[in-house]
Subunit: 326 residues, 2 copies
């Protein structure tokens, strides 16, 4: 779909934009935010991105990533427009409830550009463009740039290519379509370097992260079609890693032939887990995540749960069973 006119109008008519995205920002969150900022600069607008810090190290190569500011020092009043990118509910922007409330009270124009399934809790009263059919928010930003007739430059192409490969698992997920590959080809023509971006995004694990991965693999419980990995607080401490270091860990569990559903439990606080779900093919894990108050996409969703690991795992198995997935 073409970007809605009311969103294009806001971008055209207003002059100062605050760009926010979800916490633990990934390549689509960061790449989309950056590309939108580059577009707004081309349109001679003021635009700034604020996110949770630190930025995961694998994205340090992105053009102007160092100019992204800390969400904890958010000068909301300095902007006319707030744009939520790659997330559609302010509660996803940060774990600090007071900060989220402050964002919810933003009095200027609010815009949402996202490809996640709509989270209707609360009323943020924004101009929304939500397209769960799109593989990445980066593709929506690409369409906005096109709608303005702006030429893609190296920085935009690199940011958008990164967004796409992160959300398609470098063209391996079910969302990899003719449309996605055609846009990727155009981004390469505009200067994006596939092997360089791949190496930076996917082959830049710290030794600590590698050790955490080995830790997960040695403890994984495989009972096809399900594989369950878990990382306790202690595992993160022992290896000197953080939650953001687990990006793509759960995808690896899909490598096993008979595993069609993979779950990764990460203990963020004692007995509080962030859970990532992945599935193969037509299997839809989004309803499973929603049953726990989370959400996401068909093949990649997530939720949070406060309980012991054993209890959390058993609850997941229960819900999978009641959805005829086990």
């Amino acid at each position: 779909m073409r970007p809605p006119e009311n969103i294009l109008e806001v971008l055209k008519n207003e002059d100062s934009f605050l760009i926010l995205t979800h916490s633990t920002p990934d390549g689509d969150a960061l790449g989309s935010s950056l590309a939108l900022k580059f577009l707004l600069r081309e349109l001679a607008k003021k635009a700034e991105i604020f996110t949770e810090q630190p930025i995961p190290s694998q994205y340090k190569f992105l053009p102007e990533i160092e100019k992204i500011k800390n969400i904890r020092e958010l000068p909301l009043e300095a902007f006319k427009v707030l744009i939520l990118v790659d997330c559609n509910n302010p509660s996803r922007v940060d774990n600090d409830k007071k900060l989220v409330e402050k964002i919810e009270r933003f009095s200027g124009i609010k815009v949402i550009i996202d490809h996640h399934i709509e989270d209707k809790r609360g009323d943020f009263n924004a101009i929304k463009w939500i397209e769960p059919e799109e593989a990445a928010t980066g593709i929506m930003i690409y369409k906005i740039i096109k709608a303005f007739g702006i030429n893609l430059d190296y920085a935009m192409a690199t940011a958008l290519y990164t967004a796409i490969i992160i959300d398609t698992g470098n063209f391996q997920f079910d969302n990899t379509s003719e449309h996605v590959l055609t846009i990727a080809a155009e981004l390469v023509r505009a200067g994006a370097k596939p092997s360089y971006i791949y190496e930076q995004s996917f082959e830049s694990w710290s030794l600590n992260r590698f050790n955490l991965f080995v830790n997960m693999l040695t403890n994984v419980e495989i009972t096809p079609p399900l594989a369950v990995g878990y990382l306790r607080k202690d595992d993160f401490e022992k290896t000197g890693t953080e939650e953001s270091d687990t990006e793509r860990f759960v995808e690896f569990l899909r490598t096993i032939k008979d595993v069609t559903i993979a779950a990764l439990f990460r203990e963020i606080e004692e007995n509080f887990f962030k859970v990532s779900l992945r599935s193969k093919g037509s299997l839809d894990v989004n309803p499973i995540a929603r049953a726990f108050g989370g959400g996401g996409h068909k093949n990649a969703s997530g939720y949070r749960i406060r309980s012991s690991f054993e209890e959390a795992k058993n609850k997941l198995i229960e819900v999978l069973k009641s959805n005829q997935m086990l």
Copy 2:
């Protein structure tokens, strides 16, 4: 480049074609051979593929793979034209020297379609189309199909998409270009299913293979820029695996940021190792493998060595040092 006229003429004018490829056939070898066979069938020609058996299990999903015959039962005299696909020297077709000599003596028309660097040993006296600049032989077959004005069907598209993702590491290697992504997009339009093909080709590890991988990771020695993995005979026996199960293991070691050279030692017989070398970017491991009597490409080479693991590892380190790579 467009396919040479003399190759198109042979395909147009002759009526029976024997298609051969290299031993240990991979996705490009098999996908290209199949797509060429499908084209010849569209042109109402007789065409058959003969390869080394068994076909690796991850390629069993390819359309009509079961019709590929055993190279050891080759009825050379039954064909007017022999086409070597994804290899440019008959010595690469099989390890059996007598069989190779028989192929070399083939008295009909000989054609070579390949993207590897030309191996000039011997004189096979064939009509050649060799394009080392192409990412996959599959792209050359795609161009031949286009030159005939034939519509890509599901089977052709699936075979060619597989060829491309195997030789570009699913769009991660340096050979991933706008051209490659544009053709991939067209193959998807013609029916190729990216996530299905990826899953079949790359995510079909047995549980045994997964255990062998964990085994390698828990023993890997990382001293950046070098990472060394090793798998002893005992590791294969314990996990019920074979050497062929280690495909893509060494690539994984490149995931670590500061690792630019990865080596995997696999003990084939007691104190006899097959060694795979991988490098990132401009680092060339081919001279290293050649120093041990092996060879390969810039970023992927290999050799064999008879010694203890410690001695073999120390010799590799020595050679890397004397090549200023450590």
